[in-house]
Protein backbone atom coordinates (compact mmCIF):
# COMPACT_ATOMS: atom_id res chain seq x y z
CA UNK A 1 0.00 0.00 0.00
CA UNK A 2 2.99 2.26 0.63
CA UNK A 3 4.04 2.02 -3.00
CA UNK A 4 0.54 3.07 -3.99
CA UNK A 5 0.62 6.25 -1.92
CA UNK A 6 4.05 7.11 -3.36
CA UNK A 7 2.63 6.73 -6.83
CA UNK A 8 -0.36 8.91 -5.97
CA UNK A 9 2.00 11.54 -4.58
CA UNK A 10 4.09 11.48 -7.77
CA UNK A 11 0.96 11.95 -9.86
CA UNK A 12 -0.12 14.88 -7.69
CA UNK A 13 3.35 16.40 -8.04
CA UNK A 14 3.06 16.17 -11.80
CA UNK A 15 0.07 18.51 -11.55
CA UNK A 16 2.35 21.28 -10.37
CA UNK A 17 5.35 20.36 -12.49
CA UNK A 18 4.69 22.61 -15.46
CA UNK A 19 4.30 26.04 -13.87
CA UNK A 20 5.20 29.05 -16.08
CA UNK A 21 8.59 30.66 -15.72
CA UNK A 22 8.81 33.69 -13.44
CA UNK A 23 9.53 37.14 -14.86
CA UNK A 24 13.16 38.17 -14.59
CA UNK A 25 14.16 40.76 -12.01
CA UNK A 26 15.95 44.01 -12.65
CA UNK A 27 19.74 43.90 -12.44
CA UNK A 28 19.97 40.27 -13.54
CA UNK A 29 21.69 39.49 -16.86
CA UNK A 30 19.24 39.38 -19.77
CA UNK A 31 18.90 35.85 -21.22
CA UNK A 32 20.82 35.33 -24.46
CA UNK A 33 19.01 34.62 -27.71
CA UNK A 34 19.90 34.03 -31.33
CA UNK A 35 17.07 34.51 -33.81
CA UNK A 36 16.51 35.08 -37.48
CA UNK A 37 15.61 38.67 -38.22
CA UNK A 38 14.41 40.84 -41.07
CA UNK A 39 18.01 41.93 -41.67
CA UNK A 40 19.93 38.76 -40.84
CA UNK A 41 20.57 37.02 -37.54
CA UNK A 42 19.83 38.87 -34.31
CA UNK A 43 22.07 38.08 -31.38
CA UNK A 44 21.71 39.83 -28.03
CA UNK A 45 25.36 39.24 -27.13
CA UNK A 46 26.47 41.16 -30.22
CA UNK A 47 24.57 44.22 -28.95
CA UNK A 48 26.53 44.50 -25.70
CA UNK A 49 27.58 48.08 -25.09
CA UNK A 50 24.28 49.35 -26.46
CA UNK A 51 21.10 50.01 -24.55
CA UNK A 52 18.62 47.49 -25.94
CA UNK A 53 14.86 48.00 -25.87
CA UNK A 54 13.47 44.53 -26.45
CA UNK A 55 9.82 44.47 -27.46
CA UNK A 56 7.76 41.28 -27.69
CA UNK A 57 4.90 41.73 -30.15
CA UNK A 58 2.42 39.91 -32.37
CA UNK A 59 0.37 40.96 -35.38
CA UNK A 60 -2.95 40.33 -33.61
CA UNK A 61 -2.14 42.56 -30.63
CA UNK A 62 -3.73 46.01 -30.78
CA UNK A 63 -1.42 47.93 -28.43
CA UNK A 64 1.57 46.48 -30.32
CA UNK A 65 0.36 48.29 -33.41
CA UNK A 66 0.16 51.54 -31.47
CA UNK A 67 3.67 51.10 -30.12
CA UNK A 68 5.37 50.76 -33.51
CA UNK A 69 5.34 54.43 -34.56
CA UNK A 70 6.60 55.34 -31.09
CA UNK A 71 9.42 52.80 -31.28
CA UNK A 72 10.38 54.11 -34.74
CA UNK A 73 10.49 57.60 -33.23
CA UNK A 74 12.64 56.45 -30.30
CA UNK A 75 15.06 54.64 -32.63
CA UNK A 76 15.44 57.77 -34.75
CA UNK A 77 15.84 60.02 -31.71
CA UNK A 78 18.24 57.95 -29.59
CA UNK A 79 19.83 55.54 -32.10
CA UNK A 80 22.93 57.70 -32.43
CA UNK A 81 23.24 57.81 -28.64
CA UNK A 82 23.47 54.03 -28.41
CA UNK A 83 19.89 52.77 -28.34
CA UNK A 84 18.94 49.67 -30.31
CA UNK A 85 15.29 48.67 -30.43
CA UNK A 86 14.70 44.99 -31.17
CA UNK A 87 11.15 43.82 -31.83
CA UNK A 88 10.68 40.10 -31.36
CA UNK A 89 7.68 38.84 -33.31
CA UNK A 90 5.81 35.94 -31.73
CA UNK A 91 3.34 35.11 -34.48
CA UNK A 92 2.94 31.41 -35.17
CA UNK A 93 2.78 32.17 -38.88
CA UNK A 94 5.46 34.32 -40.48
CA UNK A 95 2.96 35.54 -43.11
CA UNK A 96 0.92 37.32 -40.41
CA UNK A 97 4.01 39.20 -39.26
CA UNK A 98 4.96 40.18 -42.80
CA UNK A 99 1.45 41.49 -43.44
CA UNK A 100 1.62 43.57 -40.25
CA UNK A 101 5.07 44.94 -41.15
CA UNK A 102 3.85 45.92 -44.62
CA UNK A 103 1.08 47.90 -42.94
CA UNK A 104 3.11 49.31 -40.04
CA UNK A 105 6.75 49.50 -41.14
CA UNK A 106 9.50 49.18 -38.54
CA UNK A 107 12.77 51.09 -38.83
CA UNK A 108 14.30 49.10 -35.98
CA UNK A 109 15.56 45.51 -35.94
CA UNK A 110 12.86 42.84 -36.08
CA UNK A 111 13.48 39.21 -35.13
CA UNK A 112 11.13 36.24 -35.43
CA UNK A 113 10.50 33.63 -32.76
CA UNK A 114 7.57 31.48 -33.85
CA UNK A 115 8.52 28.79 -31.31
CA UNK A 116 8.02 31.18 -28.39
CA UNK A 117 11.24 30.12 -26.71
CA UNK A 118 12.53 33.63 -25.98
CA UNK A 119 9.36 34.94 -24.26
CA UNK A 120 9.29 31.79 -22.15
CA UNK A 121 12.80 32.47 -20.87
CA UNK A 122 11.98 36.11 -20.23
CA UNK A 123 8.76 35.14 -18.42
CA UNK A 124 6.48 37.31 -20.53
CA UNK A 125 3.05 37.80 -18.92
CA UNK A 126 1.25 40.02 -21.43
CA UNK A 127 1.38 41.43 -24.92
CA UNK A 128 3.21 43.60 -25.69
CA UNK A 129 6.00 43.43 -23.12
CA UNK A 130 9.14 45.51 -23.35
CA UNK A 131 12.43 44.75 -21.64
CA UNK A 132 14.94 47.54 -21.25
CA UNK A 133 18.48 46.17 -21.13
CA UNK A 134 21.38 48.39 -20.08
CA UNK A 135 24.74 48.65 -21.85
CA UNK A 136 26.13 46.14 -19.34
CA UNK A 137 23.65 43.48 -20.52
CA UNK A 138 21.59 43.63 -17.34
CA UNK A 139 17.83 44.12 -17.27
CA UNK A 140 16.84 47.64 -16.23
CA UNK A 141 13.07 47.19 -16.27
CA UNK A 142 10.28 45.13 -17.73
CA UNK A 143 7.02 46.68 -18.78
CA UNK A 144 3.80 45.00 -19.89
CA UNK A 145 1.34 46.79 -22.16
CA UNK A 146 1.54 50.00 -24.11
CA UNK A 147 -0.76 52.95 -23.47
CA UNK A 148 -0.51 56.51 -24.67
CA UNK A 149 0.03 57.84 -21.16
CA UNK A 150 2.97 55.49 -20.64
CA UNK A 151 5.06 56.89 -23.50
CA UNK A 152 6.66 59.56 -21.36
CA UNK A 153 7.72 57.20 -18.57
CA UNK A 154 9.12 54.68 -21.06
CA UNK A 155 11.09 57.38 -22.85
CA UNK A 156 12.42 58.68 -19.52
CA UNK A 157 13.60 55.16 -18.66
CA UNK A 158 15.42 54.91 -21.99
CA UNK A 159 17.07 58.30 -21.47
CA UNK A 160 18.14 57.32 -17.95
CA UNK A 161 19.61 54.04 -19.22
CA UNK A 162 21.56 55.86 -21.94
CA UNK A 163 23.32 58.07 -19.39
Amino acid sequence: MNRLSALALALCASLFAALPAAAIDANTPAPEFQLNGSRGAVNLGALKGKVVYLDFWASWCGPCKQSFPWMNEMQAKYGAKGLQIVGINLDAKRADADKFLAEVPATFVVAFDAQGDTPKRYGIKGMPTSVLIGADGKVVQMHAGFRDDERKALEDAIVAALK
Binding site: L4, L7, A8, L11, C12, S14, L15, F16, A17, A18, P20, F56, A58, S59, W60, C61, G62, P63, Q66, L90, D91, A92, D96, G116, P119, K120, I124, K125, G126, M127, P128, T129, H143, A144, G145, F146, R147
Partner: protein, 77 residues
Protein backbone atom coordinates in the same frame (compact mmCIF):
# COMPACT_ATOMS: atom_id res chain seq x y z
CA UNK B 1 -5.37 -9.44 -1.88
CA UNK B 2 -9.09 -9.87 -2.18
CA UNK B 3 -10.97 -9.10 -5.33
CA UNK B 4 -12.57 -6.06 -3.75
CA UNK B 5 -9.24 -4.63 -2.65
CA UNK B 6 -7.75 -5.07 -6.12
CA UNK B 7 -10.71 -3.27 -7.58
CA UNK B 8 -10.39 -0.37 -5.13
CA UNK B 9 -6.66 -0.08 -5.85
CA UNK B 10 -7.30 -0.03 -9.57
CA UNK B 11 -9.99 2.61 -9.12
CA UNK B 12 -7.78 4.87 -7.00
CA UNK B 13 -4.93 4.52 -9.50
CA UNK B 14 -7.20 5.28 -12.44
CA UNK B 15 -8.58 8.38 -10.69
CA UNK B 16 -5.11 9.62 -9.78
CA UNK B 17 -3.85 9.03 -13.32
CA UNK B 18 -6.87 10.90 -14.68
CA UNK B 19 -6.15 13.82 -12.37
CA UNK B 20 -2.52 13.91 -13.43
CA UNK B 21 -3.60 13.86 -17.05
CA UNK B 22 -5.17 17.30 -16.60
CA UNK B 23 -1.73 18.79 -16.08
CA UNK B 24 -1.02 18.14 -19.76
CA UNK B 25 -3.62 20.79 -20.60
CA UNK B 26 -1.89 24.13 -20.10
CA UNK B 27 -3.61 27.47 -20.66
CA UNK B 28 -2.20 29.24 -23.73
CA UNK B 29 0.80 31.48 -23.14
CA UNK B 30 0.25 35.23 -23.67
CA UNK B 31 1.94 35.01 -27.09
CA UNK B 32 -0.14 32.03 -28.17
CA UNK B 33 -3.46 33.86 -28.27
CA UNK B 34 -3.40 34.74 -31.96
CA UNK B 35 -6.41 32.61 -32.78
CA UNK B 36 -8.29 33.70 -29.66
CA UNK B 37 -7.73 37.33 -30.66
CA UNK B 38 -9.65 36.94 -33.91
CA UNK B 39 -12.88 38.95 -33.95
CA UNK B 40 -14.98 35.84 -34.55
CA UNK B 41 -13.62 34.34 -31.32
CA UNK B 42 -15.14 36.97 -29.05
CA UNK B 43 -17.95 35.84 -26.78
CA UNK B 44 -21.40 37.03 -27.70
CA UNK B 45 -23.57 36.86 -30.73
CA UNK B 46 -23.86 39.42 -33.48
CA UNK B 47 -20.65 41.33 -34.21
CA UNK B 48 -22.49 44.53 -35.12
CA UNK B 49 -24.51 44.38 -31.92
CA UNK B 50 -21.29 43.84 -30.00
CA UNK B 51 -19.71 46.93 -31.51
CA UNK B 52 -22.84 48.86 -30.60
CA UNK B 53 -22.53 47.69 -26.97
CA UNK B 54 -18.87 48.68 -26.86
CA UNK B 55 -19.75 52.08 -28.30
CA UNK B 56 -22.30 52.61 -25.52
CA UNK B 57 -19.73 51.62 -22.90
CA UNK B 58 -17.22 54.03 -24.46
CA UNK B 59 -19.58 56.98 -24.41
CA UNK B 60 -21.55 56.41 -21.19
CA UNK B 61 -18.88 54.98 -18.95
CA UNK B 62 -15.67 56.34 -20.46
CA UNK B 63 -14.39 52.79 -20.61
CA UNK B 64 -12.79 51.19 -23.62
CA UNK B 65 -11.06 47.97 -24.52
CA UNK B 66 -11.12 44.68 -22.74
CA UNK B 67 -13.83 43.25 -24.97
CA UNK B 68 -11.50 40.78 -26.68
CA UNK B 69 -8.12 39.17 -26.35
CA UNK B 70 -6.19 41.35 -28.76
CA UNK B 71 -6.69 44.91 -27.77
CA UNK B 72 -7.21 46.07 -24.19
CA UNK B 73 -3.94 47.93 -23.98
CA UNK B 74 -3.44 47.13 -20.34
CA UNK B 75 -1.06 44.33 -21.24
CA UNK B 76 -2.95 41.91 -19.09
CA UNK B 77 -4.79 40.05 -21.81
Amino acid sequence: MTMKKTFTTALVLALAAGLGGCSVLQPPQPWEKGLLAKPEMTLGGDALEGRFDVHILNSKEAASGGSGVGGGGCGCN
